[in-house]
Amino acid sequence: MTVRYTKDHEWVRMDGDVAVVGITAHAAEQLGDVVFVELPSKGASFKQHADMAVVESVKAASDVFAPISGEIVDVNTAIVDDPARVNADPAGEAWFVKMKPADPAEFDGLMDEAAYNAFTENA
């Protein structure tokens, strides 16, 4: 399954024609213990790079940006109820939102895993 990454440390995985979005293990590690998550409403639409969610650790608040343009078709309320899940399984169970992509080309323009790993190592 192809996963793509952004410079803001979100990941996107295409699941059929739906894009599943979360934050990377690197981002979760940098944030530290996540204590609060705010997600957008179902049906809301975002342009690529727009802030769509908030994740807060004990230390600080961070925006989560839309990695691609599209409409929110589902949100993971489990991480709102139990924010610690974001640290436990950021790449899997603790996905943030599912989106209907507006422009498939945006997904292809994101970094692949090798490029993202190189990016975080050099950051």
């Binding site: 530290g32 213990d33 204590v35 609060f36 705010e38 908030v54 004990v58 230390k59 608040a61």
Partner: protein
């Protein structure tokens, strides 16, 4: 994430130890300090409340103040050095017991707080005339300059940058420290005693910045690493970074200078009027006495209060406080997530008429007005050892 300043960061004597313990290091008050270790802020916070946490607070300023007006030793010498420091702080130092410690503040002429500090009087007769001060890292140069300028002809200031400061905080702290420094568990809250630890002179106060029972131990730099490792060898002691230090003091309702206190805010507004001695309230004779005594009588116009947001969203420093009717009434000065209360905790300033416990307010977080309530501080009860 963080930008590197141009001047090289200062290091404490425990810098190498922090790195070996896997600390994440950040700049704080010009020092390269551990913000957290491998366990992370949440676990470090909870560990301190459950057992004992070790904090490197060597970046703080330690100093000895000694009278020039009277030979050292005896009551006259104490009265002389106390009279000098009382020119700058509103605390009762003259009648402070031998071996006692006081929390107070340096004041400017307008009654604003220049820094908060701890002042200790030695127990030993031959040390009377000396006071031991601990001040904030970010303010220490300014504090020491103020003392030299205002009191230079009356006192000698010896900055103790040859000493490290290690805090051991939590319910197990006394039992653990007693094994290494016999006698400390008999000390009560806000006392200072000197001990010999294998030839090293320790100055131990039973106080701290977490709301828990605990100690701050001043140890010569040369022996600091050895002393810290000795404590860390105990299975119930974990190293704790600045992140948890901040969340612990927030739950304990304790001020962070530069955030909850500054040169505009009086100690009465800051809700730390206990830092003003009873005799001093009658006599005055400290900077800004007119304003402070008036505020004590009439009540301050604004007051630092505890605030609990009703939802899960933390309200951090700078967040606007609105009345229930929607008018802007103040600002959060410290806020975040409190691991022990398992929810957001904050403090801030509101006009006196909104400061009553139970008053409903709103907090503007990311453009949304979230419901919150004025609460008593501390939100986690203090557990000091008073004997």
């Amino acid at each position: 994430m963080s930008t590197k300043p141009n001047t090289p960061l200062k290091r404490t004597a425990l810098h190498g130890l922090h790195l070996s313990l896997g600390a994440k290091m950040v700049e704080f008050a010009g020092y390269d300090m551990p913000v957290q270790y491998a366990d992370g802020v949440l676990k470090e916070h909870l560990h301190t409340r459950a057992k004992a946490g070790l904090f490197d607070v060597s970046h703080m300023g330690q100093a000895f103040l000694r009278t020039r007006q009277s030979p050292m030793g005896g009551e006259d010498a104490h009265i002389a050095v106390a009279g000098a420091i009382e020119m700058l702080v509103p605390a009762e130092i003259r009648k402070l017991k031998k071996g006692g410690q006081r929390y107070s503040v340096f004041l400017n002429d307008k009654g604003g707080v220049l820094d908060d500090l701890m002042i200790s009087r030695p127990l030993e007769d031959d040390r009377q005339g000396e006071l031991f001060l601990v001040v904030n890292a970010a303010m220490k140069d300014q504090d020491f300059a103020l003392i030299r300028k205002m009191l230079g002809d009356r006192v000698e200031l010896q900055v103790a940058d040859d000493r490290s400061l290690i805090a051991l905080q939590g319910p197990s702290a006394a039992e653990i420290l007693e094994e290494i420094v016999p006698g400390v568990s008999a000390q009560t809250f806000m006392t200072m005693r000197r001990y010999d630890w294998g030839g090293a002179g320790l100055i131990v106060t039973r106080s701290g910045y977490t709301g828990e029972d605990g100690f701050e131990i001043s140890v010569p730099n040369k022996r600091a690493d050895e002393f810290a490792k000795k404590l860390l060898a105990h299975p119930d002691v974990a190293p704790i970074g600045l992140g948890a230090r901040d969340s612990l003091r927030l739950e304990a309702g304790l001020c962070l200078y530069g955030h909850d206190l500054n040169s505009q805010i009086s100690p009465v507004e800051g809700n730390i009027a206990f830092a003003i001695g009873k005799r001093r309230r009658e006599e005055g004779g400290f900077p800004g006495a007119e304003r402070i005594i008036r505020e004590l009588k009439e009540g301050p116009k604004r007051l630092r209060v505890g605030i609990r947001p009703e939802g899960r969203a933390p309200a951090r420093e700078g967040v606007e406080i609105l009345s229930a009717a929607g008018d802007k009434i103040g600002e959060i000065t410290s806020g975040g997530f409190g691991p022990t209360v398992n929810g957001p905790v904050a403090m801030g300033y509101v006009p006196a008429e909104y400061s009553k416990t139970g008053t409903k307010v709103q907090l503007m977080v990311r453009g949304k007005a979230l419901p919150a309530e004025i609460v008593d501080m501390p939100v986690v009860p203090h557990r000091y050892y008073r004997g």
